[in-house]
Homo-oligomer: 189 residues x 2
Amino acid sequence: MALRHAVLAALLDGEHSGYQLAKAFDVGMANFWHALPQQLYAELAKLERDGLITGREVVQEARPNKRLFTVTDAGLDELRRFAAGQSKPSSVRDDLMVKVAAADAVDTAELVGQLEERAAIAEAKIDLFDGLLRRMRGDADEAEFLARGRRIGPYLTCLRGRAFERENRDWCTRTAAVLRARAGADVRR
Amino acid sequence: MALRHAVLAALLDGEHSGYQLAKAFDVGMANFWHALPQQLYAELAKLERDGLITGREVVQEARPNKRLFTVTDAGLDELRRFAAGQSKPSSVRDDLMVKVAAADAVDTAELVGQLEERAAIAEAKIDLFDGLLRRMRGDADEAEFLARGRRIGPYLTCLRGRAFERENRDWCTRTAAVLRARAGADVRR
DNA sequence: GCTCCTTACTCAAGGATGTGACTAGTCCTA
DNA sequence: TAGGACTAGTCACATCCTTGAGTAAGGAGC
């Protein structure tokens, strides 16, 4: 039960609809959680049933009506309870890593291609996070914002996301280079 | 279906029993995958049924008998097929990140404690990975090993694991410092 | 005029993962 | 000599997460 808390945390910035959350989970939250719309709608329904959030219907003219959700006091309590509990350590869990682990038994050229592709994706995410960070801190410089800004939670996780993607990019390019070099040398000496 | 391939990749270093794999998944593989024994036994049974691995019974005197598994040719093909397919990008998916995202609404002291604890765990893992890397490359220095070593797959993923944990450690200590400083200054100016 | 994209949300099904308990013999230590 | 840890593995359940499809309306572009 942790998507639950990710949703609660996301709703701390104010009212959101399921649809908006689905978007948010593809950008801001994306560095540490990912979820498809179906999951979010299901989770929102459960959270509302349990009284941790409340929804209000907003009637719209030109587009479908929507429901906006807010965290209740009970929801805040639940978040605090969650934060006090222990967290299990995380791992990376990435298909690409599995493939590299099997590099010795697998088509290298393919793998190099995938690594380079992934490096490009990481690069794009870095830019995205840079933009988000700039937007969040506004005029203030980083030290200033971290010391006195409001809502630094998302900023801190975004820093982590950016660092992760930098790491990702560097490892992918380096690994691709290593495999490429070996493939070149490897006409069975 | 990816634990499947992680198991196949792990079996590339030779015969393993379910029990040994469970151990291996808590150290070498641990940087990019984690699985409980039950899952592994279940997966091994499925892999054997599908002919991707074969097991042989080993009778032991002083301890329970065990079954050792090896990858078959069909298993290798499956791994290659998997490596050629596309991989979905990964995220970090960590409880602690969710808590930090909610930092503005949650008990800071608790969080700082958890971050420092996590930094210590990361430090320990870094040492572990350092040891593994040294053991894998033996006498050779890193560049030499990467250029000409056999079985560099696990070495490369281990490098990634170490970089990840370094990143983890640094972010945790930095974030703890930020939150601590704010808690100090924050007697509601 | 047709198709695609966007907003907004729902339903169903199945595989993947996690939790907890249980068997059973051996070795080590206090 | 009793308690704990290690080897080796199994069963059952619950929840999480993914996959794939579907509804319905308005607006943009060709």
